[in-house]
Symmetry: D2
Subunit: 284 residues, 4 copies
């Protein structure tokens, strides 16, 4: 069996009412939005097809993310209200289950947005003076702290106190250019959980919760939407595609990010994770 | 810190509009419904509080399960429409993503309900004559087949064909009486996945998908329901309680099943999974 | 980089003083010894090169295994004293650490040899009447018992008593012909350990213990042997090759079993497990 | 069942010919050698009982470690030749299987001893200029490098080149005082392996290889030694005790390190790892 790569993303995607895009490797890379993508998204907008972003990313707010998709000519292609990040699920959890009080975290200052917007008080782990006062602890992002000092600090703090431990991004790595990856906070979380031996609460693809969250948003805008009218587009079989499959919507693998064209067929067969469609990129 | 066991389930539960119950270890055991449970559920019904069942069980249809909760005096305490099983999620997946054709399975004949209701044709693994014709494969239940012959059959079949592999119950074991457990189909799935080396698609708690599914049902009946008006009651920290926490609803651990009273405090601290309340049973 | 397959096994192997062979996929398959293998082994014997077998197999005694390698013309090609099985390590553990008393087991009657030879009394799990009298429990082989009844029996027995639990073969599957595999007792062990939640004690490749055991045997016969005079020949990267590498002896991957010629290069690169040599088979 | 803590370490240990001690939590802590330990070891020496150290530690050479055990009055209690570290196994692997050339590493400068002594040239990861020239890569220690920069560097380097990757200490954490632990290089290795997706080669307890290595040393000094004349003393069930059990020697758990007195009974029962004896410390 040889892999069928559909010649045109547009010809197939235009039959859906909603397109959910993964961000990294699909719409953008470490240099910003991928050339040609603004035209693609603008074309959907003109055709009355709604574009959403579903991203395992808690490094900054949807408002900040919106700027990435704002184009000189086309304007705000994907508004903040159409961007669903794993950080927002973590935030909802904090608002519903923790409610108030100080919350320790590791991550960039900008990632603390997700604690603050839940009505809680974010404290970077190196400034926690009273561990017993913390109501929760969040692993938000892989940057903005001293790995050696703060991971060791966090491990010892979490061994001692019995509070919910939230991981706002389940990814183990993310691509930073064609060749290189960066260790993501999901990997740090796995390592710390192995030492702390408590159950961390994780948010993000492939878990279907982020799809449910986004779909509820879609339903507010398009009350008569049906699952077979939504297409998820992603570059990663183990997060985007299996999550979409499990949620019951169609899935499109694009070969512009984590999954290389030369290895796509083998990876699909080896994993048993089968996308509905495969495209070279969203620009075809 | 010592564990606070609330003296009365009723006094706290009566403040919610919806109670979601786990089945095994909460409402029933291997001998059937636990004595006193019908009175508890009837009392909620009289108070206008809706009872739902959320169960990792694909051994038979909700209609069959309803009979368990039908009482000589009180009648059908929990109607089939209020019973959400992991089998129903598997069924929805099959209907949305596979749609038609033959589907191999292991499990009891009654568990094939979840394939049939999706409009597909269930074939027990020992009667599969043309593996290439299968559109999916389901692991439904731990009974109804010859473990040695059929697990080996299924493993070799799944190595060969590239189709979605569905696990309709993620539990690794289930209690059959005060002392003993039985190996659940989730354990067989983990073992088979290790050999087949493809990604199986799993349905059931602690994944929040079953909570989303049940909550959508609730919302149809009670459109203005809010998450803080729903209480999940379960006997297992690693499925019922963490799932409810992650979904953002309150959780009650009962000590009438998987979690023994003498070990509850240690297990909560060791796991870091913190229920909103702890009760001896739903009959208090 | 493309894989270098050496044209002649003999030309390279003849430079060693000892060859350690894996059994399945190298010397034999489910039909018995592979055609041409007796001539290969006989040639080593004539050249004064010693052949040993290192096998993850506790299904029968080395004396029984010797018969497989006895040839009409060449006689006993590999005597029982040159056959080292994972069962022998389990047996040594029982003799040194358990010493006497009844030992429960799952496996064929012939596999109970490894309990008996340690001076203990093997009892199949379905005949255990007094679990508290058991001094240890062994998982020996995947055949000879009723999987459904006896795995459930063993799980409940092992949850109750606190005794050493021995796994005499770590393999998760073994090839039975060119296309099919069988679930091995190592897979059953992994599944049971996940439910019982105690630490099973495992014996077999890739752990270096079986190499140490065999090397000690070799040293008795050839006191001045050095590690760089020994070649391990196997068909599986994750057991034979990584174990030999870690033990510090040279390793040869043959493509006559678990590792297909078309996938060998990818598997070596993907796993990072690098054999010293690659051959099509030991007959080249 | 309640745990039997033997009143006197000396009374039982004096019946053995060789005592193998774990280092951290048994003989020393982060402040140096534990008070009273020199007298204990000196007493064994006077009685003609040999003391060895078996330690998962590749942070410095045995010669450096010897200094820890050198006492003002008693002199060198445990000479370098009686100290066996996981670093020495890594070193042996490098000498036998890699032989020569540059080897990248993360760890302290002192830990590079184990590369150098194997006849290879250690290069810290931040000074690797030609990844393709490397013959192996070693994870030696958790200190001496910038975690953020160098772990990301190492991950990308190891994704690219296909060389043996050696982990010289399998521990996931180590105690630094009564309350706190530090993340060990074994945890970093697990995290990196999850991203790199190649098989790292690990050295250290609980693998029996370090016991074999030490036992071979003992046999050189005491040719007629038998396994039942050796006692392994450790503070950790999952490394010291299970390793000793599997190697076939007696094991003593001491409650002066990783395993707290109040939790020892529960941990033994929960893990199923059963020491031959339990003592409060080696000073009793």
């Amino acid at each position: 069996m040889s892999l069928l790569i559909e010649p045109s993303f547009w010809e197939i995607a235009k039959n859906y009412r909603v397109i959910m895009f993964d961000a990294f490797g699909v719409l953008k890379n470490s240099h910003g939005i991928i050339e040609g993508v603004p035209d693609t998204v603008a074309r959907f907008r003109e055709a009355g097809i709604a574009s959403y972003v579903l991203t395992n990313d808690a490094s900054r707010s949807p408002q900040e993310m919106e700027k990435t998709y704002t184009h000189a000519r086309h304007g705000a292609l994907i508004p903040a209200t159409h961007i669903v990040s794993s950080g927002m699920l973590a935030s909802e959890f904090l608002a519903l289950k923790v409610r108030s009080g100080p919350v320790g975290y590791i991550g960039k200052e900008a990632s603390a947005h997700y604690v603050r917007v839940a009505g809680l008080e974010p404290i970077p782990v190196d400034r926690v003076t009273d561990p017993d006062s913390l109501r929760a602890f969040c692993l938000l992002d892989d940057e903005g702290f001293d790995w050696f000092l703060d991971i060791n600090r966090a491990v010892n703090l979490l061994r001692r106190v019995n509070i919910p431990i939230v991981v706002a991004n389940t990814d183990i790595a993310y691509p930073i250019d064609a060749d290189d990856v960066a260790v993501a906070v999901g990997s740090l979380a796995n390592m710390m959980e192995g030492i702390v031996r408590k159950t961390f609460i994780r948010f993000g693809k492939p878990d279907t919760q982020i799809f449910s969250f986004a779909y509820a948003r879609v339903r507010e805008a398009i009350p008569d939407i049906k699952k077979n009218e939504v297409l998820m587009v992603g570059d990663t079989l183990t997060t985007d595609i299996i999550g979409a499959n499990k949620f019951g919507i169609d899935s499109a693998l694009v070969l512009s990010g984590n999954t290389q064209r030369s290895r796509a067929d083998v990876m699909i067969q080896a994993s048993g994770i089968i996308p509905t469609f495969v495209f070279d990129s969203v620009r075809t």
